[in-house]
Symmetry: D2
Subunit: 292 residues, 4 copies
Amino acid sequence: MLKKEENKTISFLIQCEDKKGIMQKCVNFFTDRDFNILHCQQHTDSYENMYFMRMEVDMSDLKTSRKVLENEFDNFAKQNELQWSCHYSDYCPRVAILVSKTSHNLYDLIARKNQGQLHCEIPLIISNHPNLEKIANSFRIPFYYLPVTKETKKEQEKKVNNLLKQFDIDLVVLARYMQILSSEFIEEWMGKIINIHHAFLPAFQGANPYQKAYERGVKMIGATSHYATADLDQGPIIEQEVMRVGHELTPKGLKEVGKDAETRALAKAVQAHLDSRILIYKNRTVVFNTKN
Amino acid sequence: MLKKEENKTISFLIQCEDKKGIMQKCVNFFTDRDFNILHCQQHTDSYENMYFMRMEVDMSDLKTSRKVLENEFDNFAKQNELQWSCHYSDYCPRVAILVSKTSHNLYDLIARKNQGQLHCEIPLIISNHPNLEKIANSFRIPFYYLPVTKETKKEQEKKVNNLLKQFDIDLVVLARYMQILSSEFIEEWMGKIINIHHAFLPAFQGANPYQKAYERGVKMIGATSHYATADLDQGPIIEQEVMRVGHELTPKGLKEVGKDAETRALAKAVQAHLDSRILIYKNRTVVFNTKN
Amino acid sequence: MLKKEENKTISFLIQCEDKKGIMQKCVNFFTDRDFNILHCQQHTDSYENMYFMRMEVDMSDLKTSRKVLENEFDNFAKQNELQWSCHYSDYCPRVAILVSKTSHNLYDLIARKNQGQLHCEIPLIISNHPNLEKIANSFRIPFYYLPVTKETKKEQEKKVNNLLKQFDIDLVVLARYMQILSSEFIEEWMGKIINIHHAFLPAFQGANPYQKAYERGVKMIGATSHYATADLDQGPIIEQEVMRVGHELTPKGLKEVGKDAETRALAKAVQAHLDSRILIYKNRTVVFNTKN
Amino acid sequence: MLKKEENKTISFLIQCEDKKGIMQKCVNFFTDRDFNILHCQQHTDSYENMYFMRMEVDMSDLKTSRKVLENEFDNFAKQNELQWSCHYSDYCPRVAILVSKTSHNLYDLIARKNQGQLHCEIPLIISNHPNLEKIANSFRIPFYYLPVTKETKKEQEKKVNNLLKQFDIDLVVLARYMQILSSEFIEEWMGKIINIHHAFLPAFQGANPYQKAYERGVKMIGATSHYATADLDQGPIIEQEVMRVGHELTPKGLKEVGKDAETRALAKAVQAHLDSRILIYKNRTVVFNTKN
């Protein structure tokens, strides 16, 4: 299992009903092919009787084409009723950021990408408002301003979808994009849209969470990053952050303080997704720890 | 303002509509009577246009009887439309703890009281179940077992109320007392009942919050201490605690982990109440920091 | 891997130099003997080139005596240069608590044990002061008062050691025991003494950490639980807790606030040790997450 | 005390030995001049016998010139042996950022400034390395590259100092500037240089704190923002942040995770300074809460 920092790796994300011997079978699949296993993380949900595994192997041990490996694993998976995906560390995922008028998540994601904390490309930013174009420009990222009205909603969403496809996007990040997406759109991108909600879900769903938080007099505020599903603010939670707040803050003050929770919750979720550390089941996620 | 550690103090809690000069008037009330002001904490809620003050003065400067001081302050308060209360540090408040079957909050409160962290007496424990009697016995605190059924609910509550009066109780702590109190009872003890809810309110109101938290797949669980009001789990929040949880935990595991959040949230709320650091307005609280 | 809640389990803690194939070999050892693997947790420290594993298997699959299993594993371990230990869930470890005058950790540990959060027996409490005897009595735990002076230090420690052996103690918890133990004593109990230091180590080593914290003007205070080693406050850290503090607190106030950090840091460390979730290497620990 | 959001304000920071009546005198100074007191925050350090006050008044009540007000307050201060400073909300402080090669704090500070979270100008960035010039350029902030060697250290520092004066700088932020400043420089800018140290001070002072943290096996890492003094890493602490870390992280991983603690600790310190919420005494700070 000698890890060489510079090594390229392949990560398999596997889930199935829990059953005796499944771990050994998965391990043997890779050791039979003489793969060095760099990391193996597992979780058994005894409540749901589900088994989850993340297996990271040394890509330099790959003796066949990627396609052959995937076909072989697919056969193995079918025999054992596994759901799976695999991810190559030398592929750089392509991320689209959708925004409206608020910029803190946008700044934060771009800065992290530029510093190498997020392993991805950001080939475009899309917005229903023109406000943040100058930020996109300063980072030299193409900015697509696609305004939307009640009448043009369907049409605008189609344009968004076309752009995502045209740019070969792997992950869509809703960085305070204040538009509700259609269930068709979400269905098409299922498991590939990460949203940030500016509250500690399931508290304060919907609009104006900081106003509601003020009125309820909570002593902590939070933010929740989750995969988008057809039910608004109901998708599988990836990451949550909270911050202690006192009586000193008005709704406006809560909003300011909450920004830090929002940037961290979203950045950590995007990073976990890009590192292939997340498995989704039912309305829940398994998020394995980073290893480095 | 020279504070002498050993000094007895008087604390005034004051609230009113915010208006120019109100602070000076309050300060002058005490300095005119030659009181040394040990601590003066204030809050202006600019959103609600409310002013709050906690003034702690040196009791040894008291030249009159307590009754005279209170009468004088009451006149002053009426002129300036203040709501107020005052608290003497040499009075030891009497606290009743109500429990059902769960013991972690009970253990914690008694241990803190015994160690001098909570400045109070605990003359009795009341429960609708017999389970925790042996804990009460080990600490030599009288335990009243008052079982309750649908039919006897009203009658049992009356017995509880009688005990509270008989023992001159100042504060009722619902330390996981799993009975809903009548609105009459709560009305009578308004501002004097602190409850612990085993979730991060307003998320997961009502029963089985840890089960709901598991199903929603949250990444943090919490606990909320609040004053009881007629609306279940809707009263003014005093303190909240959260703990980060991962996918490893089943509902049972969440429940175990959550106990620490519950003990801290309840203990801090009880302590703040006993220190006379809490003001209630609308459905919110101002909780001033401890000073020592 | 079907987990039955009621099942008894055997946990193996394994560490070795990292090498290719080691995981598969360990897995095969258990699956060859038809053990159902309930949980398998691993860690590769790529910096130190070390491999760590915690393997929890179903005890009902044990076909041989425990001794035979241990012998077989020992042979396997020798061949592969593994360090290991194994732990049976139906054995209830015996814990001695050593205290001086401070009671918050003692209360907390006993309460957790009584509530089933800590899976252990506490057959005795030892102290160099008589102050906490009444707490021991209220919980009906034998209390041994062994005063110590400079002259009697060696002799007193011998008495302590004899008591620990007489009571078949598995784990010694220094719950604010304010005596420095000799290196001989610590050597003899290496890996079996957990201490709580009332600061965020390595800051504020030695005496009076809260006074030092006040003087340094820190904005957070902490507590550190660690295995005792011959170097005071230098042993492998198991758990740390911090609490945000403001300028309001004097050294005395910091001390009060810090108690909660101390109780949590110590309780979590003791629980992890009793759950056989800790591996020690160099001056570090691997602490695997709880699973339930 | 009616606060109008749009109002300009004047903030006085006051400290003195604690004495009876001092609060009333300060309040009267402002009410005698018919100032509406918007916020009054106080702290009594009973351990050091010191009194601290932050008084925020409505600038529209100012009937004289600023100079006259300051002269009058200065007379008052001399009579009462107060140390004081005052700050006008309509003045926008000028901040210089000094960096070396690490960019996360730089990105974060500029983003917060651009979004209005930090009320300041950033007229220049100075660095002893050319690496971050392109970031400065993308935000159109002048970048001064002043390389330094052992031989040119004194001369380079002089150039830095000249630039700071030429640009009328009010606050110098060392955003991971990896050069030790001379005691003359620090003396000249005393109370006006904020540094970020990438560890939880006083733990891991000096170089390579994450390496040291790894070796010590800590379970939390942190960051500390403080005013620079002649003793390296010994200045008055303003803000600290910690993050829980597990055994999974190598020194490199700790460094990555620590960045978030560094950005938050520095940003909060700079914000508190710009809001005139910090008082320094001995080697400690009083940091009053934000109000909005």
